[in-house]
Amino acid sequence: MYSEKVMDHFKNPRNVGEIPDADGVGTVGNPVCGDLMTIYIKVKDDRIMDIKFKTFGCGAAIATSSMTTELAKGKTLEEASKITRANVAESLDGLPAQKMHCSNLAADALKAAINDYLEKKKVKK
């Protein structure tokens, strides 16, 4: 059902965990649907210096979270906010059709984390 890449990211997920003093936090999904993920980012000079995730969900949900953090790490906020669900799925050599919608939420969580950072920055000013 899943590509080798998906299974690799499921077995050895990259960047699992929390950042206690994160600059931005984004959560999407709903445990009712079976998928919930939170992404934490640490930002310096508009660049994502560190990123971590926590995910409740199926294999695809965990693998897409892991891949999203890999794609975003080291990128500028502008570059990172352009990462789409389709980019994530492609980087994993594809996802089963029924998983594209519900479980492929990590790109949205990343955007939410970036927006959270930008909002906080506004308030500080």
Binding site: K11, V32, L36, F56
Partner: protein, 392 residues
């Protein structure tokens, strides 16, 4: 090499080697058509009728003629429910079933609802036991059929069939029982339990796939939906799948003889698995009834994590199980059975179904108990739902 432990006997089972052996002559040597008059046909006919007798014996049917062979549990359930509904619609259009039935009952009822039948789904309690009082209360003068599972393959709960049978027969309503998950595992007696129709499947008893049977009590009014040469007393046309039928009968015969010892063995393994898992993993629970349950069923759930990732993780250790969560299927919705016993969606998503079988030994259970806590812990460490104090 990783150890292989198959504990998904609700999904599929290997064929018993004795069953396989019994079938082989019917592919190459005894290939006659039971409807033919010549001696090849008569040999086939004899095997067919002997098979009927063996299957009848397993479920306590008095007359082998009351057994009709089908292509499996799904067809038997379809034939029983649609066959009774259409044949008896002049008497009434009301059918009662429960909220925990197999999809082949659920979706047949849904289909009939679109055809103008009224369906009532009787709820179950939080252990999956059908509410008898509610069942009695929804019976009306238009009720023609009650369809209930003997035991749920998903949560293991065994239903109070005798009481339901009494209720149905007192009210002169046909009772159909889906015994696919129960037959061959626990004793069934269609006479004592006032059952009019009973579905069973061959593979669920370690027989070949693609064969099943429907018990139809003599005098039950039912109509076919497969029309043709009038086989199976006009109820299921099409040349009989003789190798399959012979295999199913052998499986029934073996199950009947070994049920007591095998159930006892499986119950011990099941209870060791349940006790071990619940004892070693915090916030883990058993789904279904603790004692009135199928001997091979351990349906467990673990807070804060999701079923599919549990299945994939256990598969990495060579352990094959299935999920109460239907995330692996097309719908992504959690199982209707788990929701029916009152679980919240996220609890239903965190369920895992272990179903033991003939080849499982105590070492397999030990291995699962060795692996499972670590797998749960790893996924919980990744989950945003896990309370912080649990991870310390």
């Amino acid at each position: 090499m990783t150890r292989k432990v198959y504990m998904d006997h609700t999904a599929s089972r290997p064929i018993d080697p004795r069953v396989f052996e019994s079938m082989t002559p019917y592919f190459k040597e005894i290939y006659g058509n039971p409807s033919s008059l010549h001696s090849f046909g008569l040999d086939a006919k004899k095997a067919l009728e002997e098979s009927r007798t063996k299957v009848a014996r397993l479920i306590g049917a008095e007359n082998p003629e009351e057994i009709r062979f089908t292509s499996g549990g799904t067809e038997s359930n379809n034939l029983a429910i649609k066959g009774v509904a259409y044949r008896n619609k002049k008497r009434g259009n009301h059918i009662i079933t429960t909220t925990i039935e197999h999809m082949s009952v659920m979706n047949t009822c849904k289909y009939l609802a679109k055809q103008g039948f009224e369906i009532t789904y009787v709820p179950v309690d939080n252990q999956g036991v059908v509410d008898l009082e509610k069942l009695e209360n929804v019976i009306n003068e238009k009720t023609i059929l009650i369809s209930v599972t003997y035991a749920s393959g998903e949560i293991g709960t065994i239903e109070p069939i005798r009481e339901i049978g009494k209720l149905a027969s007192d009210n002169e309503i046909y009772l159909h029982i889906d015994a696919v998950a129960a037959a061959g595992k626990i004793p069934i007696n269609v006479e004592d339990e006032h059952i009019n129709l009973l579905s069973i499947s061959s593979n669920d008893m370690y027989g070949p796939k693609g064969v099943g049977a429907l018990y139809i009590k003599k005098g039950t009014k039912i109509q076919p939906f497969m029309h043709g040469g009038g086989q199976e007393k006009g109820l299921r046309s099409g040349t009989e799948n003789l190798p399959g039928i012979v295999g199913m009968a052998k499986a029934a015969e073996i199950s009947e003889g070994e049920m007591e010892a095998e159930s006892k063995r499986l119950r011990l393994l099941r209870d060791k698995l349940i006790k071990g898992a619940l004892g070693s993993i915090e916030r883990s629970y058993l789904n279904g009834h603790p004692t009135k349950r199928l001997p091979n069923n351990a349906s467990l759930r673990f807070s804060y994590i999701e079923g599919e990732s549990l299945i994939l993780s256990l598969d990495m250790f060579g352990i094959q199980v299935s999920s109460g969560s239907a995330c692996t299927t097309k719908t992504l919705e959690p199982s209707h059975v788990l929701l029916a016993i009152g679980l919240a969606h996220e609890e239903a998503h965190g369920s895992l179904l272990f179903t033991l079988g003939k080849q499982n030994q105590e070492e397999d259970v030990d291995y699962v108990l060795e692996v499972l806590p670590g797998v749960v812990k790893r996924l919980r460490a990744m989950s945003p739902l896990t309370p912080k104090e649990m991870m310390r």
